[in-house]
Amino acid sequence: MLSRIAHELYWLGRNLTRAEITSRVVDGVFQVELQGATEASPGVVLGWGELLAMLGDGGDAGAMDRAEALERLTLDPQAPTSMRASVERAREGARTVRDVISADMWEAINTTALSLRGDDTPAWLAPAGPYLACQYVKERVALVWGLSDRTMLRDEAKAFLDAGSYMEAADLVLRMLRIAFPPGDDAAASGQALALLQAVGGFQAYRRAVPAPPNARPVARFLLFERAYPDSVAACVDSVHDALDGADTSPRNSEPVLRLSRLAADLDFQRRTLPDAAEIGATCEAVQQELARVDQDIAERYFAGAQAGRRTTVVEI
């Protein structure tokens, strides 16, 4: 498969997942914000400023009101952090690889982008909050993934699409954890962390998997190490590994595959040995840096060195 196409698919997966996770966190944070903090132990705070910082747009977050932040995270076409911008980027990518993904997938992505552009979408936000828009994006992205499972050939192309998707999920969860647990902040680390679970839509899964109340440490461990939870970092690392392992012609000599195997084993080891009192932020940082190196390795081995997000120059002739 062409390096450029693989690169484009990887980023298509990333953008789709980014749109989806953005819609989940926006919806989650909006609900938490609406109700005010619990009186006893404040615990982890996840507000609009934190959210913008997590998605890489924290610059002037302080000067923004809630409506502005909401707009910027959902339907603002200019802000690179918005759901809509992610969907538009996914559409551009899908347009380039429309001969590789199935026609059903392209149509689903295309119509999602087109209806988010529609004239009536601002009305989704005004009376009802972000629920309608977030729900729409969540459903549509789920539709795309469902279609990809049913209609797309399970070849290299699917592997790179999946790899991109899980890389993005792991990256966003790690960013969220690092922002929620700033170094040296004990209050956050000992309080409750329901907000985090609500933000990623994992509250039910947590309740079923972990007997403890949703306090910061068990929640962070759950989001980092719980292999059974699909958006946990460990599960994502496993999935990226499996995808690349299947796509590579000689995975035993593949730098990114080897690095991912080591990282997966390391996460499993930490799950058993990491003392409860260990600082969560520092662990997350180490994992995040390792994932950045994986990303670099992937670009070098499969994408002929193409850099993240940089497209080839196209000239209209």
Partner: protein, 532 residues
């Protein structure tokens, strides 16, 4: 129901002197179109408008769009305007066209070969050398290179029009990178879904084998001895207006769609960059002009090119379709000589006529043309897509004045042609009624081991009343083009199921559905079982 009383065609009348494709001069449908007009009447204006809305929604959803430049500058995506009233060609008409086109393409191919080798036609004094060498598409870099099989024009599309008296004329030859074939495929698919009823009384020859024809032709010219040839489609990129077509062709042929950044030449061999390293490419169907393909040989500022490609081509390690330098044969000044080429190279009389064309390099001809500028069409030689065309009868005094000055300044860059009375075809207007609009026809030919032409082609239609400019970039639409399996009414059978039904699966007595089916057959009686 008689066609005259049908509301959808009410008030429809061919406009003399133009010939109408579906209606005779007296306003009755031509015999092959009778069933179509009845089906349209059954559909009615409302039905047609509703189908039009469905069409736009589907095209937008599937991204079958083209971009127009709006008033403010930015591009807007719009669904490709497919007119839902098809155009009909009878089997007999098509056979004549097909032979004429094949003849013409063969002659053009000979001409390209000749230009880059012996130049016999120049020595014979038929085509003047300065005219050839002065063309912007003449490619010195490929002199003396003969591609496999001697085929240069692997893909060709000639623009045909029908004059007032019904004769077909060639308006333009496209042997560089003719576009539009994906619309032929998409149009047929859309028609079958949107207005299946129109097909009911006809047997229309299919078009969907085009990608396979193209792939076979590319494989047949690819220099690969040992293994299956690797073929790619080379696109300038997603910003190109025909990108959708490139993607459709690549997908339907099952080959990679590459951009310049994917290709690299090492030691005179072309490779593409893949996730498993470099992979050799044997044949390239390129969809960009010569100028851009190789910065070392053509335009040095091209960002879309692959350095060293021409060298690999010269070494014979890769086939390029269409070959470099073919542009010299679709120049509008060279067009004038095509009938002569056919006589010279093939020793045959041309089956398809040219439109009378004047080359303005000759002072006497120029004098004559400048005197009649208001009656002629003036075109720049090196352009395509209807750019820079001035139609004398509809141009203002100032425009004529301006074009006359430009002709005097650079006579070689312009040609003048007699106005052709482009035929019309009934076309749905916004309220679902039919009105005559001017059409042309671009059939697509594939030249590999032999010449194959897909039945029909792209009928382009000028959607503005009275306009004769059919290019989609200038407000034109398209029509599905039907070539009937045979023109005789007797052969238009009602749609029936194929005659012996396939027998039940033999030797599968146990298990699953077939076992049950057999039991039911046995229960139905001994006769049914015996038949199975």
């Amino acid at each position: 129901m008689t066609p005259e009383s049908a509301p959808i065609t009410e008030g429809y009348a061919p406009r003399a002197p133009f010939r109408d494709e579906l209606f005779a001069e007296d306003g009755t449908p031509r015999p092959p179109a009778r069933a179509l007009v009845e089906a349209l009447a059954r559909l009615g204006p409302e039905g047609l408008v509703a189908a039009g809305r469905r069409r736009d929604a589907i095209f937008l959803q599937q991204g079958i769009t083209f971009e127009t430049i709006g008033e403010e500058g930015p591009t807007r995506e719009r669904p490709f305007p497919l007119d839902l009233v098809p155009r009909i060609l009878t089997g007999a008409e098509w056979r004549t066209l097909k032979q004429g086109l094949a003849q013409r393409i063969r002659a053009l191919n000979h001409f390209v070969d000749d230009v880059y080798h012996g130049r016999e036609i120049v020595r014979e004094g038929i085509v003047p050398w300065p005219l050839i060498a002065g063309r912007s598409h003449f490619a010195r870099a490929v002199h003396g290179i003969r591609p496999p099989g001697g085929v240069y024009c692997h893909v060709a599309g000639c623009d045909l029009v029908r004059d007032a008296d019904g004769t077909w004329r060639v308006l333009e030859d496209n042997v560089r990178t003719p576009s539009g074939v994906s619309y032929v495929l998409e149009n047929r698919g859309a028609m079958a879904r949107l207005v299946p009823d129109l097909f009911s009384a006809y047997r229309v020859r299919p078009v969907d084998h085009y990608p396979q024809l193209l792939l076979a032709a590319l494989r047949s010219v690819a220099p690969s001895a040992d293994s299956e040839a690797t073929v790619v489609v080379w696109t300038p990129g997603p910003a190109n207006s025909a990108y959708v077509e490139h993607a459709v062709l690549a997908r339907q042929m099952g080959v990679e769609l590459v951009e310049a950044s994917d290709l690299v030449v090492r030691d005179e061999v072309l490779y593409m960059r893949t996730t498993a390293g470099l992979k050799r490419v044997h044949a390239v169907y390129r969809r960009l002009d010569d100028d851009f393909v190789d910065p070392l040989e053509f335009r040095p500022d091209s960002l879309l090119g692959v350095p060293g490609l021409v060298r690999a081509y010269r070494a014979g390690t890769v086939a390029i379709a269409n070959a470099f330098g073919t542009g010299v044969a679709d120049d509008k000044a060279v067009y004038h000589y095509v009938p002569e080429m056919i006589r010279y190279y093939l020793g045959e009389e041309p089956l398809l006529q040219n439109v009378a064309t004047y080359l303005l390099g000759d002072p006497e001809v120029r004098e004559h043309v400048l005197g009649r500028l208001g009656e002629l069409v003036v075109k720049p030689t090196g352009e395509s897509g209807g750019k820079g065309v001035t139609i004398g009868p509809s141009a203002s005094e100032e425009e004529l004045e301006r074009i006359a000055r430009r002709i005097e300044a650079e006579p070689e860059r312009w040609i003048a042609q007699e106005v052709v009375h482009l035929s019309t075809a009934p076309t749905a207007t916004h309220d679902g009624r039919l009105a005559p609009r001017h059409v042309d026809l671009r059939p697509f030919a594939v030249f590999g081991e032999r010449i194959d032409i897909v039945p029909g082609g792209l009928t382009r239609v000028a959607l503005r009343d009275g306009s004769m400019i059919v290019n989609s970039s200038q407000g034109g639409g398209s029509k599905d083009t039907w070539v009937l399996e045979d023109g005789e009414p007797d052969d238009r059978a009602e749609a029936r199921l194929p005659d012996p039904l396939p027998p039940a699966l033999p030797d599968l007595r146990y298990g699953g559905w077939s076992g049950q089916a057999q039991q039911q057959q046995q229960a139905a009686g001994p006769d049914a079982a015996a038949e199975a």
